[in-house]
Symmetry: C2
Amino acid sequence: MAYRETEKMRNRKAQARQHILDCAYRCVIEGGFRSAQITHVAKAAEVATGTIYRHFESKEELFAEIFRTATQREVNKVAEALATVDSAVIRLEAALRQFAERALRGPTMAWSLIAEPVDPRVEAERLLYRKAYAEHFEQAIRDGIEEGSIPPQNARQSSTCLVGAIAESLVGPLSPTQADGEREPDPDQQSELVESIVCFCIQGLTGIRR
Amino acid sequence: MAYRETEKMRNRKAQARQHILDCAYRCVIEGGFRSAQITHVAKAAEVATGTIYRHFESKEELFAEIFRTATQREVNKVAEALATVDSAVIRLEAALRQFAERALRGPTMAWSLIAEPVDPRVEAERLLYRKAYAEHFEQAIRDGIEEGSIPPQNARQSSTCLVGAIAESLVGPLSPTQADGEREPDPDQQSELVESIVCFCIQGLTGIRR
DNA sequence: ACAACAAATGAATAATGATTCACTTATTTT
DNA sequence: AAAATAAGTGAATCATTATTCATTTGTTGT
């Protein structure tokens, strides 16, 4: 025998894999999943199309992984905002803000994660992550009910409503048909948007007018 | 010259067109837009594939029309519920109920209209109709603000939140991955679902606990 | 240097489905 | 009945992309 898999090679392989992921990620940032074809990704990563299949089972697998990574980052941010020592209502408010503001700051990716039509395999990830968001919210709502700052209610259902309300509110502003070429920030309008969403949601939870 | 288009032929043509629409509609009811390929539709309508292109510009055009018709029906139902003489809050509540209950009664079509991944041309219709729902809600919210039953707020934004909250709440229960084979009604669970949605939404609007 | 194996390549292939078009059939008018 | 025109047909074509695989290039141990 002559060739034995070595540490150096294992590293190099992992690095190549990561490089492909990074480039594919950049493709999605630039034009959504739609425009991120294997050929593009291969070109961006400066490898042959076949190489991608050495590292990933299929296109869907590759993009599912990207979706997972990107959304996990967002879920973590929301979880972070919910992890302070404040009252549940304050924490939920912060989390909703975080969600909306981050989306508006990275609109293409946010749109891809929230609303872009994607392959079934990737859509499955999306459903999973919507559930993940909802679960974080749900826990906070339960906390609020326990501490008395939120009236008793179906926490599961309410959390789903939160996710829906915020996502729907963002679809318009993020949609590429809406403001494709130049997605100007217009900070005033954006912060009013965020305020209205938060206001509706907190009121929906607590019944307390602000 | 010899052939002149006649009333009889115009009727027959319109009828053929409608027949194709009906059959395509039935295909969508049965398996969503995904499984409604031109070949299937042609087979269902007992015409050749080419015939379909005599009546419709393209596949997307055909399905956009179906989407439009189906959603318009739903929008009308919501509009109807909003058109009574009751107070705005009562009317909004009835409309939300109507929306949710109808969706749960026709789950495949509802899922196709609300959440199924579709072609861009059809997706455009979806966005349009989401806006249509929101506009009806918006008007009712304005009425409520005027009559004093709903506190002042950004009616446009709140209406979007309503649409998002209700749609998201239904995606899970309607999703074919969730309960594909047999979508049992389980009326108890469904009515609890509807109650929670309505409760959250009305509270989000009014700030009044129920 | 060479044997043994792994990784990379990218043109060729495959798969999917919408769309076309040369041809057949039906309808109307003279 | 025959000319003129429209509607219908469906096998063949086209377009788009993901995926494969025979071949080349790179790495390791003796």
